[in-house]
Symmetry: C2
Subunit: 327 residues, 2 copies
């Protein structure tokens, strides 16, 4: 994954390599867009411009769930099912914990042993040592690169804790939540609000106590019923299955395809992608403005001081703001 720093990219070769679907070039391209080096920015920008017209044709699926829910096993089973049908699958992960520990916890290739040997599958872990914001940006661009390389389905995988799933929700078409049977203690780890983001729920490991699994499904269905309908007009299905037994995997693909057809026909699919892009653009503008502003060490000092004074009720927020911008 380490890029050869001394070798300049040949942009033509890189573009052609990606467009002809060669994984080694795709990897190089992703390394380029992940790069934080100033000298790589212009090249990244040019690469994106060249590949953009060939992008957009995949189904982008976000997958989340707490550690232990069986995400790797699910992606293995789902991915193998896809490649057997002649489809190409790319798996990208947004994993803040792996960024913090400067490397993926288990190693994505070990986690998904079968898929990593599959020539129609491409697995790419989070870049090590990046911020969540950085990962979010590079993952969005990696999706476009994978699409340009001819991948039909892009899975963006995340851990259902922290803020990463909101980020993933905003870059995929279909968001799949993996759950365990039993609606009690097993759910404690999942973030508030995450259930309302789901376009589908898969209750994994439903291969033991089926009564329990069915009760869990009923509970989820009841809870989903309390939510208002999604803007997509889609009704969220709850599917029982077992990744280990490859049970329910084909059904999830059918659900994804039905979603794709239904929302494409209604126009929501394209509309949603456009809105995601525009929203992302404005988020980046905001981030850029704040990054520029906070980058001055004198600003940092002032803000730290202001926070202390606000916390101890020594100043109002309004005054602190005025002092920051006018003093």
């Amino acid at each position: 994954m380490q890029r050869e720093r001394n070798k300049k990219y040949n942009l033509d070769a890189l573009t052609d390599g990606i467009l002809s679907g060669k994984n080694q070039w795709l990897s190089k391209g992703i390394t380029l867009v992940e790069s934080l080096l100033t000298e790589d920015r212009k090249e990244s920008s040019n690469l994106m411009e060249r590949l953009l017209p060939s992008s957009g044709k995949s189904l982008r699926i976000g997958i989340t769930g707490v550690p232990g829910v069986g995400k790797s096993t699910f992606i293995e089973a789902f991915g193998s099912h896809l490649t057997k049908l002649g489809k190409k699958l790319a798996v990208l992960s947004i994993d803040p914990s792996s960024s913090i520990s400067k490397g993926s916890i288990l190693g994505d290739k070990t986690r998904m042993a079968q898929l990593s040997m599959d020539s129609n599958a491409f697995i790419r872990p989070s870049p090590a040592g990046s911020s969540l914001g950085g990962v979010a940006t590079s993952t969005r661009e990696s999706i476009i690169l994978c699409e340009a390389a001819g991948y039909d389905v892009i899975i963006v995988e995340t851990v259902g804790v922290g803020q990463s799933e909101t980020i993933v929700k905003n870059m995929v078409d279909f968001f799949l939540l993996l759950m365990l049977p039993g609606s009690g203690d097993e759910l404690q780890g999942i973030k508030r609000g995450i259930m309302e983001m789901a376009d589908g729920i898969f209750i994994n490991k439903s291969d033991g106590n089926m009564e329990r699994a069915k009760r869990a499904r009923k509970d989820f269905q009841n809870a989903l019923h309390l939510f208002p309908p999604a803007a997509s007009g889609w009704t969220v299905p709850v599917e029982l299955g077992s990744s280990l037994e490859k049970d329910g995997i084909g059904e999830i693909l059918e659900i994804c395809e039905k979603f794709n057809t239904q929302t494409s026909e209604s126009g929501w699919f394209e509309e949603n992608r456009k809105n995601q892009e525009i929203k992302w653009f404005h988020q980046l503008i905001g981030q850029r403005l704040e990054a520029d502003f906070y980058s001055y060490s004198i600003t940092k000092e002032k803000i730290k001081k202001a926070e202390e004074m606000i916390s101890s009720a020594q100043t109002s927020v309004r005054k602190a703001l005025d002092d920051l911008f006018f003093a």
Copy 2:
């Protein structure tokens, strides 16, 4: 509500008037902090600084629910209950629809006829013609003014549609969601995610079909059970009642007080308020930076053009961003 533009405020008189709990001075103070005029900014800032040490001692309650759920009737009943106990209540509303129509829909004093005659109650509608962001800022400051004027309970009321309830959630201690009995069609209007913000749910109008009301409570309890515990450590109660019959009103106050005691003892109450202030400070910094940036008409033009190119896949977001900041 119209402020006399020609008369300069005497800051000493204003401060003293508010601190001595005189509603006409409180109203003037709120009009001042709502003012968007540059010449009023400095004065507002000074007023806030003077009143801040006398603020913070109330319980801040956010109330939301779809139109028709009976918010006004609830606030009337709840407020009268409070004032009968010798407490002083202020009601502030964040109502984007009233801002858009340049005036409150029904007129807050008509909506809450009894409370508006009550000398221990103070009712203040949204400022007409302001943006939601502006309303959010002035409402936060109005809370502080009301506290300085000796109000024990501040209700911030909003309509459970759009983005206003997230704003309210971030400025109150306790967030109460009003619901109707029956968990089906009646809920369709409420925004996704709102149930997970609630610290308490009151099922209003539970005075007809009690079976139906109890079933609704069971449904809500089941759904809440699927959510992970709140950071406050608080378990969200679901209460049945009827504002019209004054049934369940005392119970809601008891719940609020229990919440106050429990979270104060755990330290979460103070911690949450500090976090709200710091978060708000940073939000305002971001808003200010964006407002400055977007205020140039040349920037506006460029952004409009960029959005069009992004939407039609003529440019990547990265390239559009670079063009915006470097071209």
